[in-house]
Amino acid sequence: MEDLLVYAFKYQRAESVSAAAAALGADDAAKVLSGGMTLLPSMKHRLIAPNALIDLARLPELIGVREQADHWWVGAATRHQDVAAHAGLQQAIPGLAQLAGLIGDPQVRARGTLGGSLANNDPSADYPSAALALQAQIITDRRTIDADDFFLGMFATALQADEIITGVRFRTPQRCAYAKFKHPASGYAMAGVFVAQYAAAGAANGGWRVAVTGVANGVFRWHDAEQALAQGTTTPALQRDDVIDDVHAPAAYRTHLALQMLAQACQAF
């Protein structure tokens, strides 16, 4: 049996980000290829059938981890394993390096990328929780989008159809951690909680930011948890009407897992 993808497509390696954006703009059935760890399985399952793939995974301007004054920049084509293994990032934003090391499995981490994860916005993906908790700025080929405005629900983001993420700025917190309950086969988050603390500066939530993934229709800020952390009280049970209820877990279990993962993340502090 031949192991080819079912539908044919044209493949090209992008010479630059602007060339990639132009190619996307010229063909609304074209897609950008980065790590391919979601795109290719989706194509194998015939969920999508792009007529062209524009590979930008080798563009050097999209790769790297760099410290700036009050944040770290991570290139959109940076592989998960390289974020996880970065010594500077492990020190400065430990939860981010930890999260990257928990994505999928080692082979997937060798290929999957930050930009691909954010652009896809799978409700069970890990990176959206880091972006939301760490006040990320998503830098594209044409603008900068705050994380608070970026995630619009299941597989939906603020990106335009031909817009390309080039990198992400994560604001360096005072402390942070990530805890995740992994689905044993797929490795996706059944509940993933990212906790970060920034200087309070009069904020009602005491500078705490808690972002939850895997539990609902998309990543969200858990304001009750933020307030509880600020006041030193117990976080009440999660109350949402879009908690995922599926073959993997009923809603009540995911709600329970969210509290467990919050507690586990906070053990780091």
């Binding site: 031949e2 192991d3 080819l4 993808l5 079912v6 539908y7 044919a8 497509f9 044209k10 493949y11 290829l33 391919g36 760890m37 290719l40 399985p41 194998k44 399952h45 793939l53 590979d55 995974a57 394993q81 999928g104 499995d105 080692p106 082979q107 997937v108 060798a110 290929r111 086969a185 797929s186 490795g187």
Partner: protein, 156 residues
């Protein structure tokens, strides 16, 4: 589409449809059938090979993505006889049907490259991308521990 790569130390070329997966290129074009296809969900890891020294799932890469890369399959592992990891799998009975084994071995070699002396938990985590339906993993973990000792120069 034309592509060039180094396969098990030898420069090779191919001209294949863009939609060809790397696993298919290796198996059907180059006859390296030690790389197996065991699922369609990128979960089982039977297709694991090394691309530029890293363990990847060849069923979830396009052949054209490997253009210009160095690829090692299970056939290219032992330079002179069996690689220590292969030897350890044999000695520790780390396989039964053998279907997952090439992928397990390739993943284990990369694991030991990154962490030469892993604990049992680290081995289990490092092989989380590889599924086995036969063994229950116990002897696989023993095999990787033995390979680690051999490669560190301690007699098993």
């Amino acid at each position: 589409m034309k592509l060039n790569l180094t396969l098990n130390g030898t420069p090779r070329s191919a001209d294949v449809p863009e939609r060809t997966l790397l696993a298919d290129l290796l198996r059907d074009t180059f006859g390296m059938t030690g790389t197996h296809v065991g699922c369609d969900t990128t979960q089982c890891g039977c297709c694991t090979v090394h691309v530029d020294g890293q363990a990847v799932k060849s069923c979830t890469m396009l052949a054209v993505q490997a253009d210009g890369c160095t690829v090692t399959t299970i056939e290219g592992l032992g330079a002179d006889g069996l690689h220590p990891v292969q030897q350890a799998f044999s000695q520790c009975h780390g396989l039964q049907c053998g279907f997952c084994t090439p992928g397990m071995v390739m993943a284990s070699v990369d694991l030991l490259r990154r962490n030469p002396t892993p604990t049992a938990d680290q081995i289990a985590e490092g092989l989380s991308g590889n599924l086995c339906r036969c063994t229950g993993y116990v002897n696989i973990i023993r095999a990787v521990q033995q390979a680690s000792q051999t490669m560190q120069g301690d007699a098993p």
